[in-house]
């Protein structure tokens, strides 16, 4: 199936089923005729030459997809074009589609990846990331969502460093109607998490979500502290943490790759929460992260309301990514 058809089908399906109005609301700026735009781009270049590839490169880069990923893609495209002896730009469309799909979805699956929760047992989710990406907010939203599903959720206020962080989590706890385990500001985060685990166990909780302080990934001491937090969880509950979610700000550029790498080294990240996707930033770097580190995106943040956390839908994401870019190109 060609790329266009795939998209059309996906969106027809999505419209029919009305999968997530929120998702569409958040990305509505980008919901224009996608295939029309890609045709525009192609129409302007009758020949598949260096200029064509250069512009395609720019289109991808402007969404923060990441230079290395883009270069790989373009190289593969060039090879395919040569192999199939394609000279006309209209024919290259399908090749682009195939390559995109391969890079973005990988070869194995196109399914939405669920978070890993234990049946009838305590699941622990550790949430990590740099400063200001929206860790605490995402935890609040996630807690709300899990609570809505009938889970018994406990939050642990592991950010003991930033002023007001504990209070911020408490407010989210109130909104979501879940308990927050905390100590005083400045106390050892590993100790707070330890308390959180004990409390979660004694309350027979289904899910414990651990907040941590934002830290830049090049601060070795702080990354060690995070590794220690994870060790405490591992020691207290075998098999835990069941998810380590790295929260990424969609406005972040190439540094997100470095964040994903370094946080993975310290805590073995299992999924990404991509926040602030309701702005104009596209967060294309998650594609590079998926491509280079094979870490999937599990949730996206599409607003400040408690319901504004959605499961990641790769089709919708790629759609939003490219529609906007091509719009710009067509101008």
């Amino acid at each position: 199936m060609g790329f266009m058809e795939k998209f059309k089908n996906t969106f027809k399906q999505n419209d029919r089923e009305d999968v997530s109005a929120k998702y569409k609301e958040g990305m509505k700026k980008t919901r224009n005729s996608f295939s029309g735009k890609i045709n525009d781009l192609i129409a302007r270049y009758r020949k598949v030459d260096e200029d064509f590839f250069e512009e395609l490169e720019e289109v991808l880069i402007s969404a923060d997809v990441g230079v290395m990923t883009v270069m790989d893609l373009i190289d593969e495209l060039k090879m395919e074009v040569k192999r199939r002896n394609i000279k006309d730009s209209s024919e290259v469309k399908d090749v682009i589609s195939e390559q995109l799909v391969e890079i973005y979805y990988g070869e194995d699956n196109e399914e939405i990846e669920e978070i890993n929760l234990q049946e009838n047992d305590l699941s622990i989710i550790l949430v990590v990331g740099v400063n200001g990406v929206g860790k605490t907010t995402s935890i609040g939203k996630l807690a709300h969502q899990l609570k809505q599903q009938g889970k018994n959720v406990v939050l642990a206020a592991g950010d003991t460093f930033r002023a007001g962080a504990i209070e911020q989590l408490e407010v989210w706890g109130e909104r979501a109607g879940v308990d927050v385990i905390k100590q005083n500001a400045g106390s050892d985060p590993a100790a707070v998490i330890f308390d959180g685990i004990k409390a979660a166990k004694s309350r027979n909780a289904d899910v414990l979500i651990c907040d941590t302080a934002g830290r830049l990934q090049n601060k070795v001491n702080l990354m060690n502290e995070l590794a220690k937090v994870k060790r405490v969880i591992e020691r207290e509950v075998p098999g835990a943490p069941h998810e380590v979610l790295l929260v990424l700000d969609a406005t972040t550029g190439q540094n997100a790759l470095s964040q994903a790498k370094t946080f993975s080294e310290a805590t073995d990240v299992s999924g990404i929460v991509l926040t602030k996707l309701d702005g104009t930033a596209k967060g294309g770097i998650v594609l590079a992260i998926r491509h280079e580190l094979n870490i999937p995106v599990k949730y996206v943040g599409l607003g400040e309301q408690i319901e504004d956390l959605q499961k990641f839908d790769a089709n919708a994401f790629v759609y939003g990514l490219f529609a906007d870019m091509l719009e710009e190109q067509a101008e």
Partner: protein, 447 residues
């Protein structure tokens, strides 16, 4: 690796053109492509990159290559000059109103670091300018944002004005102004809620606050890690609020920070401060030149080039080259060469200036032992004139004497002799290979 510096990127292209008197148009094209990629990897917006590359091309085509610099370095120099110029000079001055209080408004996206920067700025004003600021908590949306500012106020022992989360931010700002006048605060710093530049309701709220308090400064706070979207954010905030300056936060991370360039290019407003850590005194004036180097990921190549230029006597260098070719390089020459390197300053400083040196295996955290250098010096100085010219004279008793005279051991003398021999061999190979061209990977015995 995803993050190569410009200097590393240019290596291959440079190799091809080394020794050419002029850089051809094709060479420039190849080099500018590398420059382009380096800038894009650093998150500079692609439109900004396009304009820059155009100017760099114009300047580089046909430009004579300075004798003392390789063409590649010449290109780097042009690029850096362009970047530095685009970024402007150091401007960390904060406005002072004719009639107190001076009002500063902090605006930006969520999570950029507005509240922390508000605290840092207040601290800066008190410490460096002896002012007494009033902090105003206008972020009524994010949970505990007011609490965060109040905690910072406590840490700084500074007053914080707040009216809870039920009040209207415009009213809060207005009431705060009244209090500041009563209490004789000479600065008012207004912390606003983070918002998306496309959120017209909240942007409207900022315009209302602006109209009410008539700020002397509006600082856009931007996360240094921002990618291509930085232009959209900066453009919108500037269009709607006419910002007066930018504060770049989280620069203590390992991001290249190309956003700085994008922001400057689209707003033409100065970047005044840089957030360099989580502590309240970690706010520094923004240095455009350092930022240019950082974006290019090239260490301080230019200072290194300049240092080498002033310290290495051109004539001596020519002679040395001649000696290398004819294999008449002696211990005396070696001593002289060592002296020149030492003149450039402490070796560790030099190493720090070499791009990529911190990534090289073995060089990471390398403690260059200056003591070992003086051992080498002492050994050579303990040789007779004949010995220095012709190391083949060496025998056991001479070595023993040299070791005694230099306070070292025979094995150390042997090691130096062996290294010197290897170095000569290497020089021969090098000069045969690329007549007189600057060699790569030359090893000094002390490294």
């Amino acid at each position: 690796m995803a993050f190569e510096g410009l200097a590393d990127r240019l290596q291959d292209t440079i190799k091809k053109i080394t020794g050419k008197g002029k850089v051809s148009e094709q060479d420039v094209k190849e080099m500018t492509r590398e420059v382009r990629l380096a800038l894009l990897e650093a998150d500079v917006n692609f439109k900004v990159v396009k304009d820059l590359i155009k100017r760099i091309k114009e300047r580089a085509v046909g430009q004579e290559v300075m004798e003392s610099l390789t063409p590649g370095q010449q290109v780097i120099k042009v690029v850096k000059e362009e970047l530095t110029e685009l970024m402007g000079g150091v401007q960390s001055k904060i406005a002072v109103a004719d009639r107190s209080p001076t009002v500063i408004m902090m605006v930006g996206l969520q999570g950029a670091g507005k509240t922390t920067t508000t605290g840092k700025l207040a601290n800066h004003l008190r410490k460096k300018h002896n002012r007494s600021p009033l902090l105003v908590a206008c972020d009524v949306y994010r949970p505990a944002a007011i609490k965060q500012l109040e905690t910072l106020g406590e840490q700084l022992s500074m007053p914080v004005f707040s009216m809870g989360t039920e009040a209207n931010p415009v009213d809060i700002a207005q009431k705060a102004m009244e209090q500041a006048k009563e209490e004789h605060n000479d600065y008012v710093i207004i912390d606003t809620a983070g918002r998306l530049h496309v959120d017209s309701d909240l942007m409207e709220e900022l315009e209302q606050i602006k109209a009410t308090v008539k700020p002397d400064e509006i600082f856009l706070v931007v996360d240094a890690m921002t990618g291509q979207d930085a232009v959209n954010v900066a453009e919108s905030f500037n269009e709607q609020l006419d910002i007066s300056g930018v504060v770049l936060t989280k620069l203590d991370g390992d991001t290249r920070g190309g956003a700085a360039l994008s922001i400057k290019a689209v707003t033409d407003k100065p970047i005044k401060f840089a957030g360099m850590g989580e502590k309240l005194d970690q706010l520094e004036p923004f240095h455009p030149e350092r930022m240019a180097s950082r974006i290019l990921g090239m260490g301080d190549v230019l200072s290194l080039i300049e240092k080498a230029q002033t310290n290495v006597d051109e004539k001596q260098a020519k002679e040395l080259e001649e000696k290398m070719r004819t294999m008449s390089f002696t211990f005396d020459d070696f001593l002289e060469q060592m002296g020149q390197v030492k003149n450039m300053g402490p070796l560790e400083d030099l190493m720090a200036m070499i791009p990529g040196a911190n990534k090289m295996k073995g060089l990471k955290n390398a403690q260059i032992d200056e003591k070992q250098l003086s051992h080498v010096e002492a050994i050579i100085q303990s040789m007779t004139k004949q010995e220095r010219k012709d190391p083949s004279l060496m025998n056991a008793s001479r070595k023993k004497r040299i070791a005694k005279g230099s306070g070292t051991s025979v094995s150390q003398v042997n090691r130096l002799l062996k290294q010197f021999d290897e170095m000569k061999k290497m020089m021969k190979q090098m000069t045969n290979m690329q007549k007189g061209k600057k060699g790569k990977g030359m090893k000094f015995p002390f490294m």
